[in-house]
Amino acid sequence: MSKELDSKLIEKIVEQRNQFLVEAKERAERITAKAEEERNRIVEQTNKSIEGIVGSELRAVHDRIVGKAQLEGRKRLLEARMEVLDAVKTQALQELKSLATGKREDTDYSEMLIKLIVEADEAMREDEYVITANKRDLGHLKKSLDKVKEALNGKKVKLGEAPADTLGGVIVTTVKEAKTMENTLETRLETANSRLQTEIAQMLGVI
């Protein structure tokens, strides 16, 4: 009976001893964590104070390095966009070459040349014109000269002697005041490309 009591007493005391130590270790951990927290607060506070004192110098360093990276990054994006938009323009130019050389069957090229002349007439509103084009297109126009005159309501039209160095389309010059309208495929492509640049960029999802 007494041995049983002894054993219980020892067990209880050992348990109490262990409890003391566990609690002490826990408290020590809390003390350490709190000190670490305080140390971090001091460092952070000091950094803020230093930034306040030498802030302009630090900001200048930051802005110089980060600003340069941002500028170069934006330049890189712009170059990437231009590369894609140039690919679109190159492809469109290929299609125009196909059209001018009769490889596209969905458009009547001779009819298109007449429309380009009519457009020029609507812009210049004169009575007499000289029309220049490349050798191939001058050939088309010679064949359809009557149609051209008819489209211009009987206005006087002469074809230029010297072929123009162009992919296709027409250069229309007035006889009276020597006004010229370049309605060539290249000129029209440049104009259309400038006009549609944003729309194309959005369509491709590169903006």
Binding site: S2, D6, I10, I13, Q16, R17, F20, L21, E23, A24, R27, A28, E29, I31, T32, A35, E36, I42, Q45, T46, S49, I50, I53, V54, E57, L58, V61, H62, R64, I65, V66, A69, Q70, G73, R76, L77, E79, A80, E83, A87, V88, K89, Q91, A92, E95, T107, M112, L116, V118, L185, R188, L189, N193, R195, L196, E199, I200, M203, L204, G205
Partner: protein, 110 residues
């Protein structure tokens, strides 16, 4: 005889408890001393850094830290832009052709 044994055991156990209590206090004291030292060193270092900043001594050190930080940020920015540029260039060929057709039609007279 038995009573004597009990008293003797009780005394030993009380000593054991007292020793444990002492050990626990030691653990706490040691932690507290270390904590006090950590905070003291941090305060001392902070004070030194502040004085150096006020007198503009060791400015190079601050500038170097700021430069290192800025370079890290710049690298991150460069990576982000490079990824975006790569994404832009990866436009499928079909979409280029589709856009070119739109441009082509715009060139034609209406």
């Amino acid at each position: 005889m038995e009573m004597k044994n009990i008293l003797s055991l009780s005394g030993r156990l009380q000593r054991l408890l007292a020793k444990a209590e002492e050990e626990a206090e030691g653990i706490i004291k040691e932690a507290q001393d270390k904590a006090d030292e950590t905070v003291r060193v941090a305060k001392e270092e902070a004070e030194k850094r502040l004085i150096r900043a006020q007198y503009r001594t060791g400015l190079d050190e601050f500038l170097k830290d700021a430069e290192d930080e800025a370079r890290k940020e710049a690298k991150r920015i460069e990576k982000e832009y490079a990824a975006k540029a790569k994404e832009i260039k990866a436009v499928p060929r079909g979409k280029i052709v589709e856009a070119a057709e739109l441009l082509f039609k715009e060139v034609l007279p209406q």
